[in-house]
């Protein structure tokens, strides 16, 4: 009897794992599609749907600044997908983007570092990070993978927010964009699905003394105006990193580029909370969730932001 139970248990456990193996991303996929549908509906016709999505915006604001009929693919551009005024200044900056020389510096950095070259033989990988490492049972970001590679080769870790790190990442991102690859985040196991859920909970939970969640501004608040800026939407938020922010680069061009971790830390501070450390599991899981929400979109980095 006992032996039968043990045998059956093993069989049922194995069968249960096999049956569920292809469905670990079922909830994430449901979330991603629901979010994309909401965002596309929001920007279909802002003036017509103002009562539902933009109750506090003026007629002029919606007419002059919010584009109609924004598609899912266009959302990869962040808030420039819908902001007419933002897109005007964005296009002007893109004629001579300030990060161009930094991509070249990243390429030199890549070719000059044997360890990095050995760890990342394929440079078109920006859309595949973060991924869930099934042996360590943790999320690996591009930042943490680069630093792990350096440490394993006996080199010093790089800073995770600015400096060499985003410069090298800008080269990877550019190569990925040139190869026309898409964001391709996978959820391969139950542990990975749990990490995704924790990241999702972090994104949607109110925090800080201002009692804001990330979603307050970037899901329900997407497209609304804060001072003179239109808030970007979660769908497509990670496709264009690292970004060059004019604010970051005002003193030194090289400091203008920042990793996604740098941007998120700044955003969480703006919520009125001490942000999690850039290499913490909390931060990595948050980025994992965010990147999944951009699955299927073109990698479009590096890019420029105000």
């Amino acid at each position: 009897m006992l032996l039968n139970i043990v045998k059956s248990t093993a069989l049922v456990a194995l069968a249960s794992c096999i049956l569920n193996a292809g469905e670990f991303n079922a909830q994430a996929e449901k979330d991603r599609i629901a979010l994309a549908d909401y965002t596309v509906a929001k920007f279909k016709d802002a003036e017509k749907n103002r009562d539902n999505f933009f109750p506090y915006s003026t007629d002029a604001e919606l007419k002059k600044n919010i584009k109609k009929g924004v598609t899912f693919e266009e959302l990869a551009m962040g808030n420039y997908a819908f902001s007419i005024q933002g897109q005007f200044s964005y296009n002007e900056i893109k004629e001579m983007p300030p990060y161009e020389e930094l991509i070249e510096a990243g390429e030199e950095m890549y070719n000059g570092n044997k360890a990095i070259k050995a760890c990342f033989p394929d440079t078109t990988i920006a859309g595949d990070y973060p991924f869930f490492d099934q042996t360590k049972n943790e999320v690996v970001t591009l930042t943490s993978a680069i630093n792990e590679c350096l440490v394993n080769a006996g080199q010093k870790k790089w800073k995770e927010k600015k400096g060499k790190m985003p410069i090298l990442q800008s080269y990877f991102s550019y190569q990925t964009m040139e190869a026309e690859k898409k964001v391709n985040i996978k959820i391969p196991s139950a542990k990975a699905a749990e990490a995704y859920e924790r990241g999702k909970e972090y994104y949607y939970t109110q925090r800080g003394y201002l009692k804001l969640s990330c979603a307050t501004c970037h899901v329900q608040g997407a497209g609304k105006r804060v001072r003179n800026e239109s808030l970007s939407q979660l769908t497509g938020q990670t496709t264009h990193f690292p970004v060059y922010r004019l604010k970051w680069g005002k003193d030194k061009v090289a400091n203008g580029l920042g990793t996604l971790e740098r941007r998120m830390a700044g955003c969480i501070k703006d919520q009125g909370q001490v942000p999690p450390k850039t290499s913490s599991s909390q931060m990595k899981e948050l980025l994992y969730f965010m990147a999944y929400m951009s699955n299927g979109m073109n990698v479009d980095g590096p890019d420029v932001r105000k």
Binding site: M1, N4, I5, S8, T9, A10, L11, V12, A13, S16, C17, L19, N20, A21, E23, Q27, K30, D31, I33, A34, L35, D37, Y38, A41, K42, N52, F53, A190, E194, E197, R198, K200, E201, Y204, T205, Q206, R207, G208, Y209, K211, S213, A215, T216, V219, Q220, K269, G272, Q273, V274, P276, S280, Q282
Partner: protein
Amino acid sequence: MKKLYSVVAATGLALALSGCGGDAVSTPVMEKEKLDEKTICNIKTNGMAAVLASAEKYNAMAKKNGLEFKRLGMTNSQYVSGSKEAMKSGAKKVVLLNKKGKATKKSVSVEYAVQRACKFAVSALTQAQTGKNTWRAAVPGDGFTY
């Protein structure tokens, strides 16, 4: 019949052990007591020293759970330590710090700093507790409808 029993028992056990289809999400360790910010942080009834002690106690818990508040570059730990130093030295003001931890030209009264430190510490914890039950209300396709 015996076989049926063993299959039912095995299925239950397997589902419990496998963790393959589960939706389990870990929750941060946090004290389950009900915290009332207005009562705990009331300087008139509790006195400044007790409120500061509460601020220190609850802020340590908030920090441990990654919930510590920060306002204009100054963390709540800095509000707590600034208030402690001021009370020790008998100063009437707590100087506010910038994001690099350096003193700015701005200051607040010690009472104000103590109360803020306490309110920030307690509400970081209560907000997180409430958030456990409310965050899904903001998720499209889940609790959020439009």
